[in-house]
Amino acid sequence: MVLQSFKNCLWLSCVLRTPKAFFWSTASGGLIIQSVSNDVYQNLAVEDWIHDHMDLEKQQVLFLWRNSPAVVIGRHQNPWQECNLRLLRQKNIKLARRRSGGGTVYHDLGNINLTFFTTRKKYERMENLKLIVKALKALRPQLDVHVTDRYDILLDRQYKISGTAAKLGRTSAYHHCTLLCSADKLVLSSVLKSPYKGLKSNATPSVPASVKNLFEEDPSLTSEMLLDAIAKEYATQHQIDHHINLINPADETLLPGISNKTKELQTWEWVYGKTPKFSINTCLNVAYKDSVLDVKVNMDVKHGRIEVCNIDLPEQWLPPGLYSELIKSLTGSKFCPNETTTLVTTLLRVCPQDDELHSRWSLLCENMIMLM
């Protein structure tokens, strides 16, 4: 039993009072920490904190974390392109944008995340991945796992069990990766399939891959066993105690400034607003009174807001005044169903109270909102 109890952890922080001192283990070279939280935003904030505040010259850090269901997109990705946002909202699955590059992944408690913190000079992804493979093989020698030159780890030469991403700053860097132990593959494949059509963007696309859980290969494996094996290998390679320190990402005394970092990661401006400029060119099929209208829509979205909006409606289908009010309202507003719903329902208050008009309006708007 290697995981240190909470009480001991508190003792440590009492004895060594300053936050930096807490992370100063008696044997220099490395430090292994594990988050007690399953909140994706809190855990990403810990990564930010270590990247910004820790001096990694004297010791490198391995951070172990797991999240409750969440989809995590890369720094320069487009969430509409990468996942089914409608499904995420329905299932209450969080969406987070990390600061490292790379593609989109699905996290749940059956997936473990590993972050290797080093100085910028010592940044070396292959080494880290080989460490993981070595740990897995030490645990279960019969596992056929290897690292590809795309920095993926494959099981049986076919199935992806780990994806990698990295962040480099001025003096420090981190490389993090996932490891599928017993994640829900059904949910994974359904949320990572985007239903949005007609999107054109230069955002980093994800490369879809067939995945498999290590649990499927060997049902005796658990996430805890994998974490432990990797920590053990890291400790051996860095010549430190095989000793995992628990940290609480909500502890502002230990990690001053962390709650601001957590808040920033949850803002709409970060999650959606950082999407590179993209355009939508699609056709809405509006079923109205026994006929289907083809309504061409094109929009330019920048910083998550609608910059330009064109809706090709048949003449007089809506009174011209109302149509221009709709365009005016949408322009500059967030490309977001909640905001759009509020705006379009408000406009209904100030237009003629005609049932026919109202039903056309509602129909059109509901179709538009489906694009978001």
Binding site: G74, H76, S100, G101, T119, K167, R170, S329, T345
Partner: protein, 476 residues
């Protein structure tokens, strides 16, 4: 100061930049070259080409993903300049110099090459320049005598500009708390430190002047005089305030409010207020709350207020009507779709409970629960937000007594409910008793609603709530 100098030598600048290119890197390494620039009568900053440094892992090209600065912006050393991406790695490129950005060599999504210029920065000639090494732990030496100060073995990080500011104000960097990256001391930190200092010195001046005549025997009179002499000095120091006005466009929920409320201006509002004794209702709700919970529903006061309103509207249907654009026709709405004002993270939103006239109090509670959870998740649909005929706003949950609510077109009335307070009131026997009092403030469209109608509706609504058993008589 730097910018001012640039403006005055704009015509000469082009010649000088050609001069710089000829010297290339070597111009930066030798300080005597900089002295050359400094002694010239009209000294401009020199333009330096900041090259994209080695990313590691043998990478030669990256994609530029985001610029954090634009041409003309001032940058300090270690400020972020841009974000580039290479093969799943996102890299933040920081500035090596203090200066002004003069040229961006790439646009978003362009491929940038390691070793080639990324941006052109105009450096202030009198300031220090960092060494070529990109990964620099210690800040560079400035030409003034300041060296980096050491506190407890850690070097304090601060740019030359910040150091100069500290020196000018006789501030020890070791005493300033750095709030920047890596505990770097920023200009704001110096200003905050200064502000605190000036605040501490200011004495309560009037008292000092009164004291001298009374105390002749003690040596105290000397002190007030000193104080009198000292008073002007701190006051003359400008108290630093680095706040700036912020202008943002009106969008989203705010825009929706602007539209609705501007339209509401056309409606001539009149108000009618009253107080309701909810003592009996409070008791009734306490009894019914656990029953509702057993059914998995949270029961607040709102379902009672809403149902009572609907019963009232059955008697006074004009309050559930709508006036057309030209004020020529009044439409009496058959459905009582009662809107409930909701405060969400993004702002005000008003979903409505449909057909309250055929709903029980429990049905209304269920629907309210549904609307509330959708509202807080930001997932209300268009049907939830349209078709309202009458609105109630329970502002009392936040606070307040009387209010002046604004009617939401195309409706003609609205009620704002204040908080429930325990107040002393007289009962039938003339005794003072504890009563649970809530205030209600109605607003109505005076074009079709008159004061008497509003008053009678309010009285009816009030009677249902003050004596909840009476609701049973009229429930359909």
């Amino acid at each position: 100061v730097c910018i001012h100098r640039v403006r005055s030598c704009s015509s000469i600048r082009f010649i000088k930049s050609k001069y710089v290119c000829v010297f290339d890197k070597s111009a930066l390494k030798f300080s005597h070259q900089q002295r050359l620039f400094r002694t010239s009568a009209v000294s401009c900053g020199q333009i330096v080409q900041f090259k994209l440094s080695d990313i590691g892992e043998g990478i030669t090209e990256v994609t530029v993903k985001e610029w954090y600065i634009k041409e003309g912006d001032s940058v300090s050393q270690f400020d972020s300049i841009c974000e580039v991406q290479s093969d799943k790695a996102s890299v933040t490129i920081t500035s090596r110099y203090d200066g002004v950005i003069r040229k961006l060599h790439y646009s978003i999504d362009d491929i940038a090459f390691v070793g080639k210029p990324l941006v052109d920065i105009e450096i202030d000639a009198s300031k220090g320049v960092a060494s070529e090494e990109d990964v620099v732990e210690t800040p560079p030496m400035s030409h003034e005598e300041h060296t980096h100060q050491e506190i407890k073995g850690h070097k304090t990080l601060a740019t030359p500009a910040v150091r100069r500011l500290a020196m000018e104000n006789n501030i020890k960097l070791s005493e300033v708390v750095g709030t920047g990256k890596d505990n770097r001391i920023l200009k704001e930190d110096i200003l905050n430190y200064l502000a605190k200092q000036t605040g501490a010195i200011l004495p309560p001046s009037p008292k000092a002047e009164i004291v001298p005549p009374l105390r002749k025997t003690e040596t105290v009179p000397a002190a007030p005089k000193d104080k009198a002499r000292k008073i002007p000095v701190p006051v003359s120091r400008p108290i630093a305030f680095s706040g700036k006005d912020k202008t943002e466009p009106v969008t989203g929920f705010q825009k929706a409010m602007v539209k609705t409320m501007s339209a509401a201006l056309k409606i001539p509002h009149f108000g009618y207020c009253d107080e309701i004794d909810l003592t009996q209702l409070v008791q009734l709700r306490e009894e019914l709350k656990p029953l509702a919970e057993l059914r998995g529903v949270k029961l607040s006061f709102m379902p009672f207020f809403i149902k009572a309103a609907s019963l009232g509207l059955l008697q006074y249907p004009i309050l559930n009507a709508s006036l057309d654009e030209n004020c020529q026709n009044v439409t009496y709405k058959a459905s009582h779709n009662i809107g409930v004002a909701m405060d969400t993270e993004q702002g005000l939103i008003v979903p409505n409970v449909k057909n309250v006239q055929v709903c029980s109090v429990f049905d209304i509670a269920v629907e309210l629960n549904r609307l509330q959870s959708l509202g807080s998740a930001g997932q209300l649909g268009t049907s939830d937000l349209t078709g309202g005929t009458f609105t109630l706003s329970n502002i009392g949950t936040i606070g307040g007594t009387y209010a002046k609510p604004v009617i939401l077109p195309p409706e003609v009335a609205i009620g704002a409910l204040g908080k429930i307070q325990v107040l002393p009131r007289f009962n039938g026997k003339g005794e003072v008793i504890k009563a649970q009092i809530m205030n209600v403030s109605w607003s109505a469209d005076h074009r079709i609603i008159d004061g008497a109608t509003m008053a009678r509706f309010s009285n009816l609504w009030k009677s249902y709530l003050e004596n909840p058993a009476s609701m049973l008589l009229d429930l359909k």
